[in-house]
Symmetry: C2
Subunit: 203 residues, 2 copies
C-alpha cells in the first residue's frame, strides 16, 4: 500500500473512531486516548493528521455541511422537505453526522463558533425557499428568513426529542408530522395537495 | 434566625448556586466543590440537604415542572401559546429553569430518565389541546398527540438555536414566529384571527 493511501485510510479511521467517541461522550468527555484505542494507531499517527482534539472536531463539523446536499427537485418546497427527511435518515446511522449534530447542540469547551452548523443549514434552506417563492409556491407575505429559522430550529429540537425517546428511530416520522402541521402556513393552497411529506418511495 | 429557617435558606442557596454551575458547565463538568464555593456553606451543610450531585440535579428538574403552570384562559389554544411564551420568557433569566433545560437537552452521566421533562411538558400541552378540541378550536382530523409532540420538540430546538445566536434574547420572538407558521395547520379558520401569538400586553 502506497504511503499516501495509508495516510488517507488512517485519517478516515481516526474520524470514524472520533465520531463514535464524540457521539457517545460529548466533546469535553471525549479523549484522544480513547479515539486511539479504537483505531489501533499510534499517537504519532494521530498528531500527523490532527494536531489536537479540537482539530478532529472541526473536521467532523464539516460533515454537517456535506449532509446538506440539495435534492434535485423541480418543486423547491419538495426539495426542502426532502432535504430534512434525508438529513433525518442519515442521522439515524451515520456516526459522523450524529457527532457533528451533538457538537452543535451541546455547550462545551469546543471553541468553534457554535452558529456554524446552523448557518450552513440556513444557507441551504433559505436558498431553496427563495427559489420556491420565485416559482409561486409560497404563501404571500411569508418572511422567508423567519420560515428558514423556524424549520431549522424545529428540526434541531425534533431530533433531540427523538434521540431521547427512541435513539432517533422515530425521527423521520416526527419530521414528516412537523411538515404536515407547518405547510398550511407556508405553502400556497394549490401546492398543499402536491407535496409529499414522507420519504420518496425510492428509499 | 431559627434553625429551620436557616435550613430552608441554605437549601435555596445551594439550588441557586447549583443552577448557575449546571447552566454554565453542564452536568458532568459541574462539581459540588464549585457549588459550595459560590454559597460559602460547608460540605456538611450541603450533604445535609443533598446526598449527591445527582440529588441536586433531580431537585432542579422539578423546577421544569413548576414552570409549566397553565395560564387561566377561556380559549385553550391561547393557553397553549401563552404557556410557551411564558416558558420562553422565564428561560431568559431564571437560572434554575435554564439549568433544568440544559439537563434535559444534553446527554450526560446524569441517570434520571431523560424523558422526564418532555413527559411533563406533554401532559400540560396535550391536556390543553384536548380541551381546545372539545371547544371546537382544532381543525378536524388533527392528531392531538402528534400536535403536542411537534410543539414540544420544536420549542426545544428553538430555544437551543436562540441560546446559540442570542443567549435566548430572541427566544420569545422565535416562539411567536413558530406559532404564526403552525396555527394554520392546527386551528380552525375561525380561530386564526382571534389568537394572539405575542406575549400578553400585561407583561
Amino acid at each position: 500500500m502506497a504511503q499516501q493511501e495509508r495516510g488517507t485510510r488512517s485519517r478516515a479511521a481516526i474520524l470514524a473512531a472520533a465520531a463514535q467517541v464524540f457521539d457517545e461522550r460529548g466533546y469535553d468527555a471525549a479523549s484522544t486516548t480513547e479515539i486511539l484505542a479504537r483505531t489501533g494507531l499510534t499517537r504519532g499517527a494521530l498528531y500527523h493528521h490532527f494536531p489536537s482534539k479540537e482539530a478532529i472536531a472541526i473536521a467532523l463539523v464539516e460533515a454537517h455541511s456535506e449532509a446538506l446536499a440539495v435534492p434535485d427537485q423541480p418543486v423547491k418546497l419538495q426539495a426542502v422537505i426532502d432535504l430534512t427527511l434525508a438529513f433525518a435518515h442519515r442521522l439515524q446511522d451515520d456516526p459522523v453526522l450524529r457527532a457533528s449534530v451533538r457538537l452543535a447542540v451541546e455547550q462545551t469547551s469546543f471553541s468553534r463558533p457554535p452558529q456554524t452548523s446552523y448557518d450552513q443549514s440556513n444557507t441551504a434552506v433559505l436558498g431553496l425557499l427563495q427559489q420556491a417563492e420565485e416559482q409561486g409556491e409560497i404563501l404571500p407575505g411569508v418572511d422567508l428568513q423567519q420560515a428558514a429559522s423556524t424549520i431549522i430550529g424545529s428540526f434541531t429540537g425534533l431530533q433531540v426529542m427523538s434521540q431521547v425517546y427512541s435513539g432517533r428511530a422515530d425521527l423521520p416520522e416526527r419530521v414528516s408530522v412537523f411538515w404536515q402541521f407547518l405547510l398550511p402556513g407556508l405553502a400556497t393552497p394549490g401546492m398543499l395537495g402536491r407535496l409529499r411529506t414522507t420519504p420518496p418511495p425510492a428509499r
